[in-house]
Amino acid sequence: MKILGIEIILDKCTGCGLCVKVCPFAAVKILNKKAEIEANCTLCGSCLEVCKFDAIVIERPKLSDKNLSEYKNVWIFVEIRENELKKVSLELASKAREIADTLGEKVGAVILGEKAKHLCDEIAAYGVDIAYIVENKNLSEYNTSNYTGILTGLILKYKPNIVLFPATHLGRDLAPRVAASLEVGLTADCTGLSIKDGLLLQTRPAFGGNIMADIISPNVRPQMATTRPNVMKIQKPDHSRKAEIISIPIELDPKALKIIIKEVVKTTKAGVKSLDEADIIISGGRGMGSAENFKILEDLAKTINGVVGASRAAVDAGWRPRTNQVGQSGKTVSPKIYIACGISGKIQHQVGMKSSDTIIAINTDREAPIFDIADCGIIGDLNEIIPALNEELKKNLCKN
């Protein structure tokens, strides 16, 4: 039997029921020892992945110019952490609003979690018109296969024109999976998004920030991109805005998961923002001299509400945890202010912080490459300058 482009090859199907377990939309039943697909199937493909007998075939309709225009609205995937919106979600909502206004379309937000309804009003304030809510206790921790199946299914059903994901650990795990499942393009780590000739123009750095590329995906829908945190501007919230809420019922069997989380370990202190979300980052390198000496950076961070980062040399020395590392093999950050203390600024470090708004460097060596990209450089000993700066700032900030 063939519904909607999904077919069970009866000769191959053994009726094992694995597909029933993984279908988030409860659209598969076993009847007479064979799988049967119900009309509410979204073609999300979750079943395909688990079937050991290649007994399921999905053929999604091919796009023609005509049905490209059926795809409407700008969607965002809303990332939440500890039941709160991540800052990047507000950035995405603000950007999506701007794009949707240009196109004359609506903004949709997909929120997955154990409990998520309370976030709808909050995200609506940043321009969301429709919130698609998927609540289930098995969605409290991110899981690649569940999230992929649900998102793929929703996109196939509601046909958005554009879908934006955050370029976070989660987004970079999920978005390519969804893109491959839908057979659409995906532009990674965008720092600019706009509309040109009706298409999403995606701008991203490549080759270690040496070049910028403008990219379009003209022949497929949705047009998808991941967006670098801290780059898009957050619009002023309008708390009187309300979003239409669409709740999507799903069923998940945790037993179907092939990857199980055994333990979650946090190496950052509770209440401390992660580097990706910080407006101000004060990073220390080998020039700090010791783990203990990072206390002067912590003190300064307290004064100006910043977060402490590190170069690879400082992480290698064991002075800071790995989650602190900025650069090619660490994090890519774009804060409003980046203060590099005792960091030479080799290319691999620059790659991770070059797109910061304002870069300040403190270094004893006037030849240090960090000064090539800094807006303001102080030639001098950080051991003297940082504490003095902290005192100055304390004085001045109290005045305001």
């Binding site: 491959a180 659409v184 750095p205 092939k258 333990e263 979650v264 093999s329 030639i379």
Partner: protein
């Protein structure tokens, strides 16, 4: 057991040139290296093979003929067999088309337990090929892998980096991993004896005909994303240098900082 590693030869990102017409990279004349993430992936792969025994490592890349040298390096690092997927038809592949091509090659190999990728390649930094490949192979993935322990031949224990720490995961095979080298990782040059040994290991070249598959899905034609323009990013302004005694320097810097929105708007 069978382990497969996907590797990429990348231009050294400090010396980049772009073709003004096609907006694709000119690879000739730019020094090419094995993507450092992939070198780590190969080293891990070899370590796991040696630990479990009765296991082989195949390394594959899709790339131009000169990508051979990156594969030779992987063989010298201990891989057992190399496959170069090379054909003019693959030119201009985006991440989807790359993953499609790699998935055909892996299906042609036929069986595997773990596919290893680097977390990202330093040229594009997309980190997309791994997950897209996993999806096309229909197997689970773990990204941002910091550590792997193989308990028995069926189960892995994995440390996955998160934004504020890490998770310990238990995973069944088969699956795909994208690996993040430890911060202290330095790509080592294999010794001469290994380089010589590598020359005697099996080396295959596969083209479009060998792979089969849907021809319209390869290379530029099969790519959904189109690069329409590349340009160098706007240059940052001049650096304002302050050279003064610490007190004065701190005063000056404090003044500059206090004007910044990030401080005034708290």
């Amino acid at each position: 057991m069978k382990l497969i590693a996907c590797i990429k030869q990348v231009p050294d990102t400090t010396e980049v040139k772009v073709d003004p017409k096609t907006h694709t990279l000119i690879r000739d004349g730019v020094p090419s290296i094995l993507n450092p993430y992939d070198q780590f992936a190969i080293e891990e792969c070899v370590r796991i093979r040696d630990q479990i025994g009765d296991c082989s490592v195949s390394v594959l890349t899709m790339g131009p003929p000169q990508a051979r040298s990156a594969l030779m390096r992987c063989l010298a690092l201990g891989a057992d067999e190399a496959i170069l997927i090379s054909d003019k038809a693959f030119a201009g592949s985006d991440t989807w088309a790359t993953a499609y091509t790699l998935s055909l090659a892996i299906k042609k190999i036929g069986f595997f337990d773990i596919v290893f990728c680097g977390q990202q390649a330093i040229d594009g930094d997309t980190a997309q090929v791994g997950p897209e490949l996993a999806q096309q192979l229909g197997i689970p993935q773990v990204t941002y892998v910091e550590k792997i322990e193989i308990d028995n031949k069926n189960k892995l224990t994995i440390n996955k980096q998160t934004e504020d720490g890490y998770q310990i995961l238990e995973a069944k095979l088969p699956l795909l991993l994208t690996l993040l080298p430890p911060t202290s990782f330095q790509p080592e040059h294999p010794p001469m004896s290994s380089i010589l040994k590598a020359k005697r290991k099996p080396f295959n070249i596969w083209d479009v005909e060998t792979l089969g598959g849907d021809k319209s899905r390869f290379g530029l034609d099969g790519s959904f994303t189109q690069v329409i323009k590349t340009y160098t990013p706007p240059k940052r302004g001049e650096c304002e240098l302050i050279e003064d005694n610490p007190k004065e320097a701190a005063k000056k810097l404090s003044k500059i900082l206090c004007k910044n929105e990030a401080l005034t708007k708290r």
